[in-house]
């Protein structure tokens, strides 16, 4: 589904170069639910932005759902974004003066669907997140958790191949975070491929696969849920030990 091979992303400012990703490689199969963890500033968001075609990269190969991404024109990239990717942000990123319906409808507008098809999809997506009755509400009339569910519905409405979520529960209290996670798990059970950046180790443990990013590189991509519990060590420490052993 998603294949990254030696991807580098370098941010160039006047004085400093930041290697946000260096020789980053990752392979995600269809149907996986991947949690991405790692210290702040390690490059998790950069990875997700590159994966979601919101940011370009300097070196390496990236293949999304069988399509090689490098060298594609803006039109083609936008099409891929629109049709294959659903993005969920930490800040929901809803347009405040748009109704819930119009917010979810927005990506469909760039897809050329008929009005009735769009309506069907919007209602279906909102149904999945349990907000079918709030079509006419404004985002400000919903709780944070509900707003994030609207954002999920927006990501779902186009029936994407893959959902990318950058700390989707980062702004939510634990109860609302729970609801959002349950929706994501349901979607994953329904066959959706999901990559989620999170700071919450509990959330990371729940999912099928866990990867850690340190200094712009993948540190470990084993299923490690039992690992830190049993050893009591941090993941990066475990990795270092392994590397020293090798």
């Amino acid at each position: 589904m998603l294949k990254m091979n030696n991807i580098s992303r370098i941010y160039q400012s006047d004085t400093i170069q930041t290697h946000a990703l260096r020789d980053f490689s990752l392979n995600v199969k269809a149907g996986e639910f991947v949690a991405v963890t790692g210290p702040s500033g390690s490059g998790k968001s950069t990875f997700l932005n590159v994966a979601g075609l919101l940011d370009n990269f300097d070196r390496g190969q990236y293949e999304l759902d069988g399509v090689s991404v490098q060298g594609l024109k803006d039109d083609e990239l936008s099409r891929l974004r629109n049709e294959k990717i659903g993005f969920i942000f930490q800040n929901y990123n809803l347009i405040p003066d748009y109704s819930i319906f119009d917010n979810v409808d927005m990506p469909l507008r760039y897809r050329g669907f008929s009005a009735s098809e769009r309506k069907r999809r919007v209602e279906e997506a909102l149904e999945k997140v349990g907000l079918a009755s709030r079509l006419k509400y404004l985002p400000s009339q919903l709780s944070g958790g509900q707003q994030q569910r609207v954002a999920i519905a927006r990501a779902l409405a186009g029936e994407p191949k893959i959902l990318l979520a950058d700390e989707p529960t980062g702004n939510l209290d634990s109860l609302m975070a729970r609801q959002v996670m349950e929706i994501l798990h349901d979607l994953n059970k329904g066959g959706a491929t999901i990559i989620m950046v999170t700071h919450d180790p509990d959330q990371a443990r729940e999912v099928s696969r866990n990867v850690q990013v340190i200094d712009g590189q993948l540190a470990d991509f084993r299923i490690y849920a039992p690992l830190d519990r049993s050893t009591g060590k941090t993941v990066s420490a475990a990795v270092k030990e392994e590397m020293a052993d090798a």
């Binding site: 803006d74 039109d75 760039y110």
Partner: protein, 432 residues
């Protein structure tokens, strides 16, 4: 279908954008429409001044100036007014298709059958009958008089409206400065801008005349008020000028084709030579022929001040565009988040560009509407200060179209840089 619904969506987004920042968009519209309005008003003046009033044959209508002044203090240039014998010499030539010899004057007019004693101050063109066909004067009723002598007149639409409420007044009798003349023809509304047959004496933007009278009759009746004349002799009145060196007649000829111009030139030069041989042409022979456009240029009908002002208003419009552009830049900057979001959700740069252009076009249309109203106001205002502009300060349909186009172009021009900038935002920058 798809592009249609995209266009409709972009239109609704544009309206939404206006609603989100109404004050800002109002300022932009005002800025641009003042710039466009001022320029448009100026172009309206230039257009009236610079247009060819009789394009179908302007190259075949020739105005004649001669240099036959016999007395002291000769003029520097050949004179555009001729004395009677010179003008008649032109009129009797059979080289041109037709000719018109005339002078302008004024009378007070009233309908003899009217119970009212109200008299209308009317302009008179005392002319040979060739005038009507030469100038393509449009007849509503009746026809031209056929001779240069006779108690007959043709009247213009304005006067016919005033005295006869626009009805067919052929056969009615007018009392003109105490004389009774019968109406044989009534003209339709007739606009000549500039009034090419009489651009001298500051009359280039006067209206067409109220009354057209046979030349000889007008001379016999002594109508000479307002007439421009120069004389080397003394005379008692215009009726006494036929054999005097009194210069007051203008002469135009209509050629069948422009090649007859040289024949006409030789005809006049021959005539001057005869005068010279008889010792009656002390000045150098200089007979000048100008077709309509040459004549308008020669007489500087396009006011240089208006031209200068037009250039100034082009610059002013440029300043308005810069202003609007910086306002739009701030607007686009504020909309950065939404641009990023739309791009993230799958809008291409091209689609965002179309969205921006749709907004600009819509803004341009609104701006155009305001600009046209403003330019109409500017013209009204300029007439208040400069009454002589009254008949040229008009917005012709083609200027309305031009104003609209200008507004569209300026609106798009002001959005170009902001759009370019918006297209280069990193998508992820605004999204957390």
């Amino acid at each position: 279908m798809r592009s249609n619904s995209m266009f409709a969506y972009n239109l609704s987004l544009a309206m939404q954008s206006f609603k989100r920042a109404p004050t800002l968009y109002f300022l932009i519209m005002l800025t641009l429409s003042i710039g466009v309005g001022v320029l448009c008003a100026n172009l309206a003046l230039v257009n009236s001044m610079a247009s060819d009033p009789i394009p179908e044959k302007s190259d075949k209508l020739i105005h004649i100036s001669m240099n036959t002044w016999p007395g002291d203090q000769p003029p520097d240039e050949p004179m555009h007014i001729l004395r009677y014998r010179d003008a008649m010499k032109i009129a009797e030539s059979d080289i041109p298709k037709r000719s018109a010899v005339f002078y302008a004057s004024g009378v007070y007019a009233r309908d003899v059958d009217s119970t009212s004693m109200k008299r209308f101050d009317s302009t008179v063109r005392a002319t040979t009958p060739g005038f009507f066909k030469l100038t393509n004067a449009p007849f509503a009723y009746g026809s031209a008089f056929e001779k240069s002598r006779g108690m007959e007149v043709v009247i213009g639409d304005d006067l016919n409206q005033k005295i006869f409420a626009g009805k067919n007044s052929v056969g009615k009798t007018l009392e003109l400065d105490g004389e009774l003349l019968t109406i044989v023809g009534v003209l339709k509304p007739w606009v000549l801008r500039p009034l090419f047959y009489h651009v001298t004496e500051g009359r280039a933007f006067n209206l067409t005349d109220d009354i057209y009278a046979p030349l000889e009759t007008a001379i016999d009746l002594g109508w000479s008020i307002h007439a421009r004349s120069s004389s080397a002799d003394n005379y008692s009145g215009v009726e006494d000028t036929r054999d005097k060196n009194a210069y007051y007649l203008q002469a135009w000829v209509e050629l069948d084709d422009i090649h007859q111009r040289s024949a006409m030139q030789s005809y006049l030069d021959n005539y001057s030579q005869q005068l010279k041989d008889a010792g009656e042409h002390p000045l150098a022979t200089r007979n000048e022929l100008h077709n309509v456009n040459e004549w308008l240029t020669e007489k500087k009908v396009v006011d240089q001040k208006v031209l200068a002002f037009t250039i100034a208003s082009v610059l002013f419009l440029a300043v308005c565009i810069f202003n609007a552009s910086s306002l739009l830049l701030s607007r686009f900057h504020a909309a950065k988040f939404e641009v990023g979001l739309r791009r993230a959700l799958g809008a291409s740069n091209r689609q965002m560009l179309m969205q921006g252009l749709t907004e600009s076009v819509l803004l341009g249309l609104f701006t155009g509407a305001i600009a046209l109203v403003l330019s109409w106001l500017f013209l009204k205002l300029s007439v208040q200060f400069l009454p002589r502009l009254a008949n040229i300060a008009v917005l012709e349909p083609k200027l309305l179209v031009l104003g609209m186009l200008l507004a569209l172009v300026t609106s798009i021009a002001s959005a170009l840089y902001p759009l370019y900038r918006a297209n280069r935002y990193t998508i992820s920058a605004e999204l957390k």
